[in-house]
Symmetry: C2
Subunit: 186 residues, 2 copies
């Protein structure tokens, strides 16, 4: 469509900006000043805006790239022999990786800005739901949850992880809750 072939230096700078943004957003989330990203990329602020229409757009580009990696990992697991193990492996892996990346945490947890909840990472969402449904069909996960519920629980697990980092046993509480088949609330 609109790909007028970038000049060599422009292509190089675009890559530098993306790399710098990935690092900066991962460390500090959307709060990092755009000028910091530009400096980290060895580039002026104007150059960032030549390649991305807004800070928000740059953020989304970075997040989307990462979510597509998640989606790819899920794709490799949908045909696993043990759907339950595949699901729990993936669940734990996503939480561990995402908890190391503030950009992902903020993007997944965002409630405002329909871009995240409704469009961003469509494939990630679809693959996650597929893993969930296979695990449910195999009896490994309670059946009163859907893909939306699961994403909400991931957001919760990320909050737990941020609050008390490295507490493996807290995630296990959640996993045990997912396994429970017959809820018995008082």
């Amino acid at each position: 469509m609109d790909k007028p072939v970038l000049r060599a230096d422009a292509r190089r700078n675009r890559a530098r900006v993306l790399a710098a943004a990935e690092e900066a957003f991962a460390a500090d989330g959307l709060a990092v000043p755009l000028d910091d990203i530009a400096r980290l990329a060895g580039v002026g602020a104007g150059t960032v805006y030549r390649h991305f229409p807004s800070k928000e757009a740059l953020f989304q580009a970075v997040v989307l790239e990462r979510l597509e990696q998640f989606a790819a990992e899920a794709r490799e697991l949908v045909d696993a022999e043990d759907p339950g193990a595949a699901f729990y492996d993936y669940f734990a892996r996503v939480i561990k990786q995402a908890s190391l990346n503030r950009a992902i945490c903020e993007a997944l947890g965002a409630t405002t800005g329909s871009a995240y909840k409704a469009e961003l990472g469509t494939e990630f969402r679809a693959n996650l739901a597929a893993l969930l449904e296979r695990a449910q069909a195999a009896g490994a996960v309670r059946t009163d949850l859907d893909g939306d519920d699961l994403r909400a629980l991931i957001v919760g697990a990320l909050a737990v992880e941020r609050y008390s980092p490295g507490s493996h046993h807290l995630v296990r509480v959640l996993l045990d809750g997912l396994r429970a088949v017959t809820p018995a609330s008082p």
Copy 2:
């Protein structure tokens, strides 16, 4: 100590500021501009600063007030006949109330600023731990958790609730996880 007896109008304005701050912070969290609080209180910005040294201090005052209410509710339950029911009742109530109040969510979830994690709401923390230990002794809650873990889980539950409001069954997943006695992770 330092209570030189406020003038009548000063006392009235202080109360108005607190009430306005409670409402504004509950709705929008710490992000609400201080000028908005002042206007809502029918007061100038300078007046707010006469009573509270900073916006942050005002926020803490509001949060602390609310946490003391939580602590009082817990105090009434420590001698309940059924420690398990008391614990789960309280847990669910705290999550429901806190999820309606962004100020509380942000204060409980704050990881920076030692004031929250280390000092704010000491009594709330102590009473929560007491309820937990009684429930654990009664065999109603798994024993591989302490008070810190429980607060982390509350933070997680609040994140879930904010992401997908009113999903009662998601909190139930967590409750089922708390009940599990023998973790059986793959």
